[in-house]
């Protein structure tokens, strides 16, 4: 369960103040599937960064699974990112020198999981994402769709409660994009909260709820279908 209350975020661009987020309040129940939409510069990414604890709001409160995470220090926030949040990026952000297996294993490595446990968990995940025979391949030996599947496997290997996806299909062709969307939706079915930033209306339509951002404000209401 996610609760954002009166979030404000202001950037200084040169001399000018830019209000990236103005009084944003959002509640997302556990297991929801939300698409954040809106024109570029509307604050979608800023909102996602706040949700992912990559950035701090200038004011307002953020509660994740009953914890007021906006008040935690950096160390504690890092721990939340590690265990509760999985990120999926438009440009995959795979480590180029590591194999698909090692990329998926990275969160386990960073959190100190023992090698033999890693082995079983990563193998299972790769098999589940149809990448069983690609484990030893490096990212540059994989197709775009395969790369994003590796990235999703990595984002979910820690069993997070929330998946934050920033234009996950933005860099893929149509069929790979649909494939990736289906995988994310399957994970959502399994109970992970899925929040996706997109400006692709077709992708937005797939979600059960859209939030439209305009000029740093939330325009859409709960459950309303605002897609054109």
């Amino acid at each position: 369960m996610i609760q954002l209350r009166h979030i404000e975020r202001v950037f200084m661009v040169g001399e000018e103040e830019v209000h990236a987020l103005r009084d944003v309040s959002i509640t997302a129940e556990a297991g929801e599937y939300i698409a954040i939409m809106g024109p570029s510069g509307s604050g979608k990414s800023s909102l996602l960064n706040i949700l992912g604890l990559l950035d701090r709001p200038d004011s307002g409160a953020y509660e994740l699974d009953g914890t007021l995470v906006s008040n935690l220090d950096e160390k504690q926030q890092a721990a939340i990112r590690m265990h509760k949040i999985g990120f999926v990026f438009q440009f995959f952000h795979l480590v180029p020198r590591l194999s698909a297996f090692d990329n998926v294993a990275l969160p386990l490595v960073l959190s100190g999981v023992k090698p033999d446990e890693r082995q079983t968990r990563v193998s299972t995940a790769l098999a589940a994402f149809g990448l069983g025979n690609r484990a030893r391949h490096r990212p540059d030996q994989l197709s775009g769709g395969q790369r994003q599947r590796v990235a999703i496997a990595r984002a979910t290997i820690m069993q997070p409660s929330v998946i934050l996806a920033d234009e996950p299909t933005g860099n893929l062709d149509r069929s790979s994009g649909i494939e990736v969307a289906e995988i994310l939706e399957e994970l959502n079915h399994q109970g992970m909260t899925l929040i996706m930033v997109t400006h692709d209306p077709d992708m937005g339509k797939r979600s059960r709820r859209q939030i439209l951002m305009v000029d740093g404000r939330v325009e859409g209401g709960k459950g309303e279908d605002r897609s054109p």
Binding site: N49, L54, D55, E74, A78, M82, F91, S111, G112
Partner: protein, 399 residues
């Protein structure tokens, strides 16, 4: 992150850019190699020089005419210098700590036997020379203890002279002609080898008085003193000085103790050590700058990766540690290569120059490797701090 995984991750980052890492590590390798080679040879060189200078025995003091240190020119050029005489040597022998003295006159002359002739170094010495200089007689005996003014015409041949003049035939008792005078061969010496380029085997020994006559001198070129092992060379040198000043009226001679000689040589070696050390230090510095450069480039190239790691819950100081670790791994690889280079180089040196014992002590090797790691750490600090200071959002946007 488990320590093993940390190591694997940094090592993988280094090996992913094989050529670049290799070139960067080379800088450190050359520095460490130079330092290791230097310390290996330095110790060997010290031992070598010490052995060269103590092969004539220890506890030696030499007295030469003229005070080099006051004039800067040889005393022989200054007319008011009183020459050293056999009488001086005889008086010096009365100092209780002095066991023996050798009055030395040296020159070059032709030595002739049968049809064969050879120009060689002639040493005019006392009977005590073999004892004081630790020369071993191979056959016959050394010069007899004749009174200096009435020495008989005996000669003792160095091994090379004996071989050149007599070959396999009997030398003992033969007559040889040196500078027109006849000498009887009383003994031949064991091979002694070279000392700093002087072939000691290509020399002959005749009584001091005979040599003075031969070279038309009325004074000695040097007096060697052997003092007892228990006495300090400085106090003995003081006494020698007092006695000679009393006889000559002023200090118109130079006293060199063996310790002084070794000190001077030690000074030369220290300078050499310092010079090579400086070269090693400079290449370490250059190597460090190389690591700094490469790590800065790596941080730029991998900004997206840093953002990703932060997003996955890696803290700032862990990012710092990762990049520091990478710099250290780079430097440590260079250091190990440098150790190989240094040890191999000194091994090669000792192979080419057998007299020069090269010896790498493990403590120096460990210290050198530690030095490499420290250089890596220092070079890594700036880039690693920059990596740690990146804002995750900015870093993720970089790709």
């Amino acid at each position: 992150m488990l320590p093993f995984d940390f190591f694997r991750y940094t090592l993988k980052s280094v090996t992913a850019q094989r050529l670049r890492s290799l070139l960067t590590a080379t800088g450190i390798a050359i520095g460490i190699g130079a330092v290791v080679l230097l310390t290996s040879l330095g110790e060997g060189l010290q031992q070598f020089v010490l052995a060269e200078f103590t092969q004539f025995g220890t506890n030696l003091i030499s007295v030469n005419p003229g005070k080099v240190t006051t004039h800067g020119i040889s005393g022989a050029l200054i007319s008011n210098v009183r020459p050293l005489t056999i009488e001086d040597a005889r008086i010096l022998k009365n100092i209780p700590q002095i066991i023996d003295t050798v009055s030395v006159v040296q020159g070059n002359a032709a030595i002739e036997s049968g049809g064969r002739q050879r120009r060689t170094t002639i040493y005019g010495v006392d009977a005590s020379a073999a004892r004081v200089w630790r020369f071993e007689v191979a056959a016959g005996r050394f010069l007899p203890d004749d009174p200096p003014r009435a020495a008989r015409s005996f000669v003792v041949l160095g091994s090379k002279v004996r071989r050149e003049l007599f070959g396999s035939s009997q030398a003992l008792g033969a007559r040889v002609r040196i500078g027109g005078e006849l000498f009887r061969v009383l003994g031949t010496m064991e091979s002694k080898g070279q000392m700093l380029g002087f072939d000691l085997d290509d020399s002959v020994y005749i009584p001091t008085g005979k040599a003075m006559a031969l070279f038309n001198r009325d004074s000695l070129m040097e007096i060697n003193l052997l003092h007892s092992a228990g006495s300090s060379s400085t106090t003995v040198a003081e006494q020698v000085k007092k006695v000679l000043v009393a006889r000559h009226g002023s200090e118109d001679f130079s006293i060199t103790t063996q310790e002084k000689m070794l000190e001077v040589l030690g000074g030369v070696l220290d300078t050499l050590t310092f010079a090579v050390g400086a070269i090693g230090g400079i290449s370490l510095l250059v190597g460090g700058v190389g690591i700094l450069t490469i790590m800065s480039i790596a941080v730029n190239e991998r900004t997206g990766e840093i953002g990703l790691l932060r997003a996955m819950g890696v803290e700032r100081n862990q990012i710092l540690a990762l990049f520091l670790g990478e710099a250290v791994v780079l430097a440590a690889i260079g250091g190990l290569a440098g150790l190989g280079l240094g040890v191999g180089g000194s091994w090669l040196c000792s192979l080419l120059i057998p007299a020069l014992p090269a010896h790498t002590s493990w403590s120096y090797a460990a210290a050198a490797e530690l030095l490499a790691v420290v250089v890596g750490l220092l070079a890594g600090v700036l880039p690693a701090r920059r990596a740690a200071a990146l804002h995750p959002v900015e870093a993720l946007r970089a790709e």
